[in-house]
């Protein structure tokens, strides 16, 4: 059995990263030029890593699934990015950001990784400012902050409601500079199809050129996976249409372990589902919860009348409204962490108080904020979000409350990595949402951008050198070896097999079926009975896919149906380990809520005695049961408590 060595440096928490950097091995400039690095994915994590490694002098190749790095879904992050600057003098510090992140993650993340994240957070802001990222400023010309869920300080930096866009464009500009300098080569419209492992080390990848179907081989001394999360296994999510977990599954099949797959974040403020033609769900930034108040009617007959269109929300008096978050969590109110806000909405809707025609929707109301601040101020803060809402729903949110419901948003689980962000395959690194490392069982708002950029700008450039220092004796990786030939052949066979099925069901139909199983049985509220139902259903779906999918077009031209089919096959596999992981974790923690494990008040009940570990899954081959290993979590510096936001 593989033992999981997280490689946490010795010493005090606050000294670990400093000590690591002081003792790690480096590569001299002449040798850097001889070393090749592949980065897959061009979002915040991938672009920042490629730009930083290129600037150091390594030969970097970066692969992008779209036509440009600027399309990556990091661009859609709205609210902001956290950092422990304490510019507001409100009591923030590295220790406080560390503590909030660990607590927000419900004590299921590694102390040392999270501390390092909090430590480098301040450098990210400085770096982005230097790149020309137009963060919001106050009248003194200093950087402005706002508050976010799960924190009692204002530590979130933002650029209107488009922070992800501006940070990604910052990373993209750094990447563009390196492309011009010739240290990074960019390959667009390429999708990774397999990882190539030679003598136990990651040595390259196989890609498909999406424009002409060509299968290509690429060799390198190390490979970085920065391909984001797998939220699209639920079909409807806030993820972009091209987001997928395929690269991670390929690595899993080649021996990289997969950690905590069941930790999926459901975001509380999304626009509710409208019809079965719907292709995705739109997020309304968490920042809206700063001023918006969430409610449903107190009387069930009012909720029914609203659903039937006989009553308007504006006709319901204050005393007949149930501001359930403020009622249940007076200390944090509407700013409780995402998992808690999502479950509370589901609880009200399941009880019959939902207000959308489907019964699944609650109100997010700005009436009080408009009265208190005036319409202009509300418009200045959230104008672009209000416009977006009105364009989609055709209802004016200044006059009527918004309607929202939780939706799948982010996956905390991902490829298992050690302190160096290296997977169980030497030379294979995973970064950003694609790894599992920093958010435990629930991610706090404005922390995804922080983690993606921390990994890319300030962690990988150090830890990868430590690995690459041993690789200077290796010559250029040849793509003519047996391993590359076999990998290419198996990719081609897989694609031909899919094309040859010529079945009855379209990829989208099967994808919807997968989404239905996952949302109904492995969604927001899970229990053993449903999970045990889902596992054979997923097995059946897998069989149906491989015998009845219909893919038109051909292998040698641009073929979106084929692209979707390949991803769907991988998503079914991922769903299987999500369900298995959810079943073994007999506790409720963060985004993972098991209905059997709750307190008397209906809150999530953790079981630290038996489940304070990372569930790490090892692939054992086709038709074999995967095996779960445990990485025990040790809290040496933090006092583990029951999460309480009351």
């Amino acid at each position: 059995m593989n033992t999981l060595d997280s490689k946490i440096p010795e010493g005090q928490l606050s000294e670990k990263w400093t000590k690591y950097k002081a003792s790690q091995k480096l590569v001299n400039p002449a040798n850097k030029r001889k070393l090749d690095v592949i980065v897959v994915g061009t979002g915040l994590a991938g672009s920042s890593a490629a730009a930083s490694l290129g600037a150091l002098g390594f030969n970097v190749k970066i692969f992008c699934i779209s036509d440009s790095p600027r399309r990556a879904h990091s661009i859609a992050a709205q609210g902001g990015i956290n950092a422990a600057k304490n510019y507001q003098n409100d009591g923030d510090s590295v220790d406080r950001l560390f503590y909030d992140t660990i607590k927000g993650g419900d004590y299921r993340a590694r102390e040392a990784n999270v501390y390092r994240l909090a430590e480098v957070s301040n450098s990210i802001i400085d770096q982005c400012v230097a790149q020309g990222v137009p963060f919001a400023r106050d009248y003194s010309g200093m950087l402005d902050n706002r508050s976010f869920g799960g924190a009692q300080v204002s530590r979130t930096f933002y650029a209107k409601g488009q922070t992800g866009q501006q940070l990604l464009l910052g990373a993209y500009s750094a990447l563009s500079k390196e492309i011009k300098a010739g240290t990074v080569e960019m390959y667009e419209r390429r999708e990774m199809m397999d990882l190539v492992v030679v003598d136990g080390r990651a040595r390259g990848i196989i890609t498909r050129n999406l424009q002409n179907g060509e299968i290509e081989r690429w060799g390198a001394h190390a490979v970085v996976i920065a391909t984001g999360g797998y939220g699209n296994v639920y079909f409807l999510s806030t993820n972009a249409m091209n987001c997928n977990g395929s690269a991670a599954v390929q690595c899993y099949h080649k021996g990289a372990f997969f950690a905590n797959p069941c930790f999926v974040q459901i975001h509380p403020t999304c626009i509710p589902v409208k019809g079965d033609y719907q292709s995705k769900l739109t997020l309304m930034s968490e920042s809206l919860r700063n001023d918006g108040r969430i409610w449903v009617p107190k009387k069930i007959e009012d909720a029914v009348a609203i659903r039937e269109g006989k009553l308007k929300p504006t006709e319901i008096t204050e005393e007949d409204r149930d501001y359930y978050l403020e009622r249940r969590y007076p200390a944090f109110g509407n700013l409780v962490p995402r998992d808690i806000a999502s479950r509370a909405a589901k609880e009200r809707c399941d009880a019959g108080y939902g207000v959308a025609p489907s019964g699944y929707g609650v109100y997010l109301d700005f009436k009080t904020a408009i009265e208190r601040l005036g319409r202009d101020k509300v418009e200045a803060r959230y104008g672009n979000l209000f416009q977006m809402y009105e364009k989609i729903v055709d209802v004016d949110p200044y006059e009527n409350p918004m309607m929202i419901y939780p939706a799948v948003h982010y996956t905390m689980g991902g490829l298992w990595v050690d302190y160096e962000l290296q997977t169980t395959i030497p030379g294979l690194f995973a970064t950003g949402e694609a790894n599992f490392s920093d958010h435990g069982a629930n991610r706090l708002g404005a922390s995804a951008l922080m983690q993606g950029l921390a990994d890319g700008y300030f962690v990988l450039p150090y830890t990868m050198q430590n690995y690459l220092s041993d690789q200077i004796y290796e010559s250029k990786v040849s793509t003519e070896t047996e391993e590359f030939v076999v990998a290419e052949k198996s990719v081609k066979e897989k694609l031909e097999k899919i094309m040859a099925i010529k079945g009855e069901k379209t990829v989208d139909t099967l994808q919807r079926e997968l989404g239905h199983i996952m949302w109904e049985y492995v969604g927001m509220g899970r229990n053993a009975q449903n999970l045990q139902k889902a596992i054979p259903m997923l097995e059946d779906l897998k069989k149906e896919f491989w015998s009845n999918v219909r893919v038109t077009g051909d292998l040698t031209s641009l073929n979106p149906e084929l692209e979707k089919a390949v991803r769907l096959a991988d998503h079914i596999e991922l769903s299987q380990i999500i369900a298995k992981d959810a079943l073994q974790r007999e506790e409720s923690c963060g985004g993972h809520y098991r209905e059997e494990f709750v307190t008397e008040e209906g809150e999530a009940k953790r079981n630290d005695q038996d489940f304070m570990f990372v569930g790490v899954w090892e692939y054992k081959g086709k038709d074999q049961e995967p095996v779960m290993h445990k990485e025990d979590l040790k809290y040496e510096f933090i006092n583990v408590q029951q999460r309480n936001y009351k």
């Binding site: 036509d67 440009s68 770096q127 137009p134 963060f135 501006q166 972009a240 033609y277 364009k391 379209t506």
Partner: protein, 253 residues
């Protein structure tokens, strides 16, 4: 709602393209334009034909990946939205809708409605950045920027690089796109040291790639889904002239 769709089909870069007509019915007015195309595509796959290829990704108006020329307008008839944010309620029942790709020499067609926009990336690579490498930068608050300037830079920076401005322009000019980046960085102190080199190199690359000159008709501004202002173009022209006349710096890096 029912619609007749006239859609541009073209197998690859070199193939000859043509319009094909499709009928689609029972579409909800709340359906987005791309979801309507999804429904059409699913029916095409059902009939064993090749679905219509179009670029799309975030479907919330921020990635800039989608872009269809609908009834003679980039991103269709609604204002300040991308194609993915356009909804069928903006059309009338029974309407014939013509759907084409962006048409511009620097954007060759890859397939059907998908064009190659990497020319825009190539312009950015010529200097659409501050040459700061990772590390060794001052504290974020060491550089003071007035709120007004920061907000103005943010407005320019909100360009999503979709290429609608190029598609809208008779000359296929990329001036609005280029000037938005030039403006963002010219407005901020971080961008000043390289401002003169940047504007000259980016403009030279834009010309080199075959984008045309500004027509001064501002169709770009009218069609921009992010409402990028034409004053950016004026600022870029000013920056360009000043750089040409006054700068002693070489444009070579």
């Amino acid at each position: 709602m029912d619609f007749t769709l006239k859609i541009w089909r073209q197998e690859n870069r070199k193939a000859k393209g043509r319009f094909e007509t499709y009928k689609i019915s029972n579409i909800s007015p709340d359906c987005s334009f791309l979801e309507m195309l999804d429904i059409l595509n699913e029916s095409l796959v059902d009939k064993l034909s090749h679905p219509i290829c179009f670029d799309h990704d975030c479907r919330e108006g921020i990635c800039g990946m989608c872009g269809l020329y609908i009834n003679g307008h980039p991103h269709g008839p609604d204002s300040a939205v991308t194609t993915c944010q356009l909804h069928m309620r903006k059309f009338s029942d029974g309407e014939t809708i013509t759907i084409e790709p962006w048409r511009a020499k620097p954007f060759p067609i890859i397939r059907d409605l998908i064009v190659d926009r990497t020319a825009l990336d190539k312009i950015i690579q010529e200097g659409g950045y501050v040459s700061a490498t990772t590390g060794g930068v001052p504290d974020g608050n060491a550089i003071l920027i007035s709120k007004h300037k920061a907000d103005e830079a943010m407005d320019s920076a909100s360009c999503i690089g979709c290429g609608a401005c190029v598609a809208a322009c008779k000359n296929a000019s990329a001036m609005l796109f280029v000037s938005a980046k030039v403006s963002q960085l010219a407005l901020l102190p971080q961008g000043k040291p390289e401002a003169a080199i940047r504007v000259q190199n980016m403009v030279a690359k834009m010309d080199d790639l075959g984008f045309g000159n500004c027509t001064n008709t501002y169709a770009c501004e009218a069609e921009c889904p992010k409402q990028i202002k034409r004053s950016n173009i004026a600022r870029m022209n000013r920056e360009f002239i000043c750089a040409k006349v006054a700068s002693e710096e070489s444009t070579k890096r």
